[in-house]
Structures are given as C-alpha cells and as structure tokens.
C-alpha cells in the first residue's frame, strides 16, 4: 500500500510542478465561467430571473472542477498498451493498472484543489453569495472530489478499451459529450424534458455528475444519501468491468508487445 501512496504523492508533486499545464486548465475554467456567466445573465434578464446565473455558475464551477481536473489517463493507458510499456511493467511487483490510476488521481488532486480555490474566488467575485450554505461547503467539496475520483476511474476504463478498439480518441470524446449531456456537465438536467432525464437515470453520468453537483443549489441530507448510494452502485459496476478488462488484457499481453 505504501508504494501506491508514494506514487500518489510523487504524481501530485509533479502535477504541482507543471505550472504551464495547471495555468492552462485554470485559463480554460475562467473562460468557461466568464462565458456562461454572461449567457445566464442575458437569459436571466430576458426572463426576469436574475438569480439564474448565480445558481448555474456555481453549478458549472463544480461540474468543470470534476471534468477538467481529470488527466488524459485514457490516452496514456492506451499508448502503454499499444507500445508495449505495459508488458514491461506486468512482471513488476506492482499492479500496472492501479499504478496508472493512482498517478492520475495524484495529478487530478492538484488541479482539483487549485481550481476549487481559485475558481470559487472568481465565481464569488462574479456572483456574490453562493447558492449553498457555507457550512455545507466541505461536504459538497468532498462529494465533488469523490466524483472526480470516479471520473478518473471511468477515464482509465476507457483507456482499457484499447484492448478491443484500434483508436479510443472518438470513444473518449463521446464519453466526454455524454458527461455534458446525460451528466448535465454544462446545463443542469433540470432544464431537460422528463423523457431525457428518465434515460439519463440509467447511466452512471446521472449520479456521478448531476446528482452530486446538484447539491450546490439543492442541498438536503436526503439528496446526499441518494447520491452516495447510486455512486457506490455504479462504482462497483465500473470496478468489475475494469477487473474483467484488465484480466483479459494481461492474458493477451504477449500479442501486443514487450
């Protein structure tokens, strides 16, 4: 266990040292907040609902913290499978998949915390009061961090699909778009029609993203319990898939490289 903790720590420090990368993500986050704040202001003014941008911008901030903080673990895993790097590690006394996952988690944590602190300050400046009570903030922050961890696992699971696909680029993009639509990554699902929400409920995106982030403007202990329960269930399913795919992969490793 110590070796994974060491990997997590090294990866976190590396991500912290890669300032250009962190600034790039922050720049993108600020641009998103800036654009959508204005969009919701315009829509709010047209509909006489001036609270609209305050609610939805804080929602967007937490959604983007989850989505943007995740490193491109899918691409690195895919490349490792294809170029034989995985074959090199498979004989080492460490799980290759867990190693890459833990590295991605370390990198994600650095971005998540930085975006959380600076993004919250920027959003506070734009909107004034947040739509949640400050005493709920640590719980919301922790829940979003856990969702970000699930997001990393999901990304790694996509990388493992390199076992069956010649390229995962479009699959990754598709998953990103599903996060935005079925997970309410940009607009909350509350603006979508009921039939669409009913479909979204059967996907992991609904609870990993929407239910968790919704706590920002609709916090209740009941909503929290539902989010925790559903997230745990989906986490088990994705973990089972990764165990299965990784098992298949290690059996075929001699075909791919080394």
């Amino acid at each position: 266990m110590n070796k994974y903790a060491a990997l997590y720590s090294v990866s976190l420090k590396q991500a912290w040292a890669a300032k250009a990368s962190l600034y790039g993500r922050l720049f993108f986050l600020f641009i998103l907040i800036f654009i959508y704040n204005h969009l919701w202001e315009v829509i709010g003014a047209e509909n006489n609902s001036l609270e609209l941008n305050r609610t939805y911008i804080w929602y967007l901030l937490f959604a983007e913290m989850i989505i943007l903080s995740s490193p491109r673990a899918d691409r690195s895993l895919f490349n490792d499978i294809r170029d034989g790097t995985m074959a090199y590690y498979v004989g080492k006394p460490i799980s290759f998949f867990l190693m890459r996952c833990v590295e991605a988690l370390g990198s994600m944590t650095a971005s998540f915390v930085l975006m959380g602190v600076l993004g919250s300050l920027a959003t506070l400046l734009l909107t004034g009061e947040p739509p949640f009570l400050w005493r709920h903030f640590p719980i919301i922050f922790l829940m979003c961090y856990l969702s970000s961890c699930f997001n990393v696992l999901l990304t790694c699971a996509v990388g493992l699909c390199g076992l069956w696909l010649a390229s995962i680029r479009t699959l990754s993009m598709l998953i990103e778009r599903l996060v935005f639509t079925l997970g309410g990554g940009i607009f909350p699902l509350s603006i979508y029609p009921d039939w669409f929400i009913d479909i979204a409920k059967y996907t992991p995106f609904y609870s990993f993203y929407y239910l968790t982030i919704k706590l920002v403007y609709d916090f209740s202990w009941e909503n929290l319990a539902v989010a925790v329960t559903l997230n745990s269930g989906w986490l088990c399913l994705i973990a089972l898939f990764t165990i299965f795919a990784y098992g298949r992969l290690t059996k075929r490793i001699n075909i791919y490289g080394g």
Binding site: A18, R25, I31, V42, N47, A166, R169
Partner: protein, 261 residues
Amino acid sequence: MAAKFIKLFLYVQKSNLKTAFLNLSDALVNVLMMMLNNFSYIFMWWILFQNKGSINGWNFGDMALLFAVANISFATYALFMRGLETLPEYIDSGGLDNFLVMPRSELMLIAFSESSFANWGDYLTGFIMYFFSGHIGWTSFGLLILVTILASVLLFAIRLLASSLAFFINDSQRLGDNFFIAVITFASQPSSIYTGWYKVISLTIVPAGFLVYYPVEVIRAFSWTNLLCLLGGVAIFLALSLLVWRQGLKHYSSGNRFGVR
C-alpha cells in the same frame, strides 16, 4: 512553386486516406461517433432554445448556422492542418530538427503530418446543420464555403500561436491545448450574447468573433463591411502567428536528437 506545393499536399492527403481505409469499418465507426458527439452537443442547445425561445434575438436557426460554420471550418482544419497540435512535442523533444532540414516549408510539412479521418463526421454535421438553419440558397452556400475557408485559416493561425508557446515556455502542450479549446468553446456560444466588453474580448484575446460571429453575419445578412472585417481579422491573426513562429524559430535551439526520416 505553388504546383509543387499542391502536388505534395494531395500526395499527403492520399496517404492519409489510404491509412484510414486500412481499417474501413473502424474509420466509419469513428465518423459516426464523431457525428453522435456533435449532435449530443447540438441537442443541449436545442433544449435550451426550446425552453427560452430566443437568446438576445437569436433563434435555433441562427445557432444551427453557427454550428454549420464551426463544424465545417474545424473539419477543414482537423483534416488538413492538425499536425500543428504535435508541434510542442517536436519542440520539446528536438524532433523539429527533422523538419527544418527538409527541402519544403517546414510549417506546412508539420501541419500536414497529422490528419484525423473521424473529422469527416464534422463535415457531415456541418452540412446537415446548414440545411436546418433556414438560410439555404446558392448564394448562401457559396458564402458558407468562402467563410469556412477563412475560418479554417484562422484556426490554423490560432493553433500555430498556441503551439508556438512551446518555443518560449517549457511543457506548454496542455497550456496551448487549453487556449485552443477555449477559443472553440467561446465560438460555440450564440454570438448575440457578445456585446460591450465581451465583444472586444471575442475579437482580440479570444478571437472567436472572427471564427463564427462575422462568418454567420456574412451568410445571414451579407454586407461588404462584415466580409472585410472577417478578411482583416484573419489576415491580422495569420500575420501575427507567422511572426511568432519566425521569432520562435530564432529562439529555438536544437535538441541534438539523432534520427532519420
């Protein structure tokens, strides 16, 4: 000179197509997935317009025209100039040396070096959205082709600026990527919301205005002023990006990497 350049361009594109067709079913699945990806984004905006009716005078037809311009120009960039995305990697690793000793324009060779077949899905999405926009006609179609060519040249310039950061900043791949994505994101919003300072920013720091606002206005209600503004904006950003590229090359010191191409 121009004939040789076109011959090389066509040869590289033929090779890219041949590579994609090695696994035809995979290539077609990727095109379909790209379209699904695009339409899921468009769907989000359709829902918003269904709820709100219009946003600052723009209806979904105008937004469809914006998606047509954005998708067609991005497809042109991604199919023919995507190699610029790997420029920071070449600079950091010294791989740029291999291009510098080539007897053709190194910038063009780098730009052509990568192509993504899946982006044919963007072309299809763009043309489908054009037919849904309500601005159909031979003149508007001609204008669509003209403005998307100009917008793809602008995308080339923006990507070159973003990638050239690597000459001056270490490990700037992600920074450049995020800057480029920020411009695309800015460009994917209804242009009608950009007024005042937002409009100034969309024409300078994040030049999304030249990418979609002027192209869409040229098609919606043609005026020479808008077309000249678009031409001027593209020319300025292209000149700026080439200047930064030239300065970057002067700044570049070889990675002393040995390789044969």
